[in-house]
């Protein structure tokens, strides 16, 4: 009976074509992004006013488009932090807001207002907002005003943040991120780029190994 072999062979060929096609497509997307990174005068990878965690001296930069209301961003955040902690002097993180969920633009504005009061307060607020995400970001019924209750122990001057969250600079920052999302074709959160290259394998291991690889390239002497 040769028929089962024929079916099995055809299955392998079709699955193989899928995987090959996937790799070709991802390569093309990565090429497009690195083209933007290399030639665009107004490159989305060079946003000095975006929240930056880590030292400016670091030669490897992770750009993360995240949504404060997104569960996967919340889940992935500890892994991004542990990569930063593992390579403190070599890797920095540039955060961008991808406010895909209803209500998360409000929270992004709150976070940016917190950043005006210092990076430590910003980081504490970011943690509190992600930690308390189930409280304020229920799907279909988000209550972004509830984030204020989460921020009481972060050292944030809440009155001041409420006043400043509609600052034109903050709104411009968010608008810039939205424009960069279009430019880089960011459709889901979190979307990460490491030195201008899309994260190939969205998993903790994928992040660790791609960052390690970029460190090798950037610091080879």
């Amino acid at each position: 009976m040769k028929k089962p072999i024929l079916v099995a062979g055809a299955t392998i060929v079709m699955l193989g074509a899928f995987v090959v096609g996937k790799n070709i497509y991802k390569d093309q997307q990565a090429d497009k992004v690195s083209q933007i990174a290399a030639t665009d005068k107004d490159s989305p990878f060079n946003r000095q006013d975006a929240p930056m965690i880590g030292t400016i001296m670091a030669k490897v930069e992770i750009v993360e488009f995240f949504d404060p209301a997104c569960e996967a961003c919340r889940g992935f955040h500890p892994y991004v932090k542990s990569v930063l902690n593992a390579h403190r002097s070599q890797v920095r993180l540039s955060l961008r807001y991808a406010t895909l969920h209803k209500g998360s633009d409000y929270v992004a504005q709150v976070l940016e207002a917190a950043r005006m009061q210092g990076l430590d307060i910003y980081l504490a607020s970011l943690e509190a907002v992600l930690e308390g995400q189930p409280v304020w970001a229920e799907h279909g019924r988000p209550q972004p005003e509830l984030v204020w209750t989460l921020l009481t122990s972060t050292g944030l001057d809440i009155e001041r943040a409420r006043r400043e969250m509609n600052d034109p600079r903050i709104l411009a920052r968010l608008k810039q991120d939205a424009a960069d999302m279009v430019k880089l074709d960011v459709r889901k959160t979190p979307t990460l780029f490491i030195n201008g290259k899309p994260l190939r394998d969205f998993s903790p291991e994928g992040l660790t190994s791609q960052v390690a690889n970029e460190i090798r390239i950037a610091y080879k002497s």
Binding site: K3, A10, F18, K22, Y25
Partner: protein, 143 residues
């Protein structure tokens, strides 16, 4: 003589299976790799196409011609949905009659291969070939 006709039927099913599996993988490529969100009509066509890949696999190993009975209703309903979708794409069915106004619009042409081949057209072609082959198998059984 019986062996000959069953071998022909097997080949016809095999081609059906090839179409169904490649259509399934192709639609998964659009949604999972290229990250194009399927619209409602695309989902309905997937509901008709994905089971065909499984029905034909079962019907092939070993050959079971009765699977025409089970495959044909899926293929015909998928074909009707694909035709409807193509008519929306081409503008024969007006905006106001579109079933999907929220979320991803079914009228947005997201992908066009070699200029005019859209996803619903591929779907329509796939279902058409599957139906034609199934009818040929059925004719073979009756004779």
């Amino acid at each position: 003589m019986i062996g000959e006709s069953s071998s022909r039927q097997w080949n016809q099913f095999f081609v059906c299976w090839l179409i169904a599996v490649s259509a399934t993988l192709g639609s998964l490529f659009f949604s999972e790799v290229m990250e194009r969100v399927p619209c409602v009509l695309c989902w309905y066509q997937r509901i008709a196409m994905f089971p065909l890949a499984i029905i034909f696999t079962v019907g092939l190993l070993p050959l079971d011609v009765r699977c025409v009975r089970y495959a044909l209703p899926f293929a015909v309903s998928g074909w009707a949905l694909a035709l409807y979708h193509c008519l929306i794409y081409l503008g024969f069915i007006p905006e106001s009659l579109q079933p999907c106004t929220q979320g991803v619009s079914c009228a947005d042409v997201q992908i066009e291969l070699v200029g005019f081949v859209t996803i619903p057209l591929l779907s329509l072609l796939g279902f058409t070939f599957i139906i034609a082959l199934l009818l040929a198998v059925r004719k073979g059984i009756k004779q």
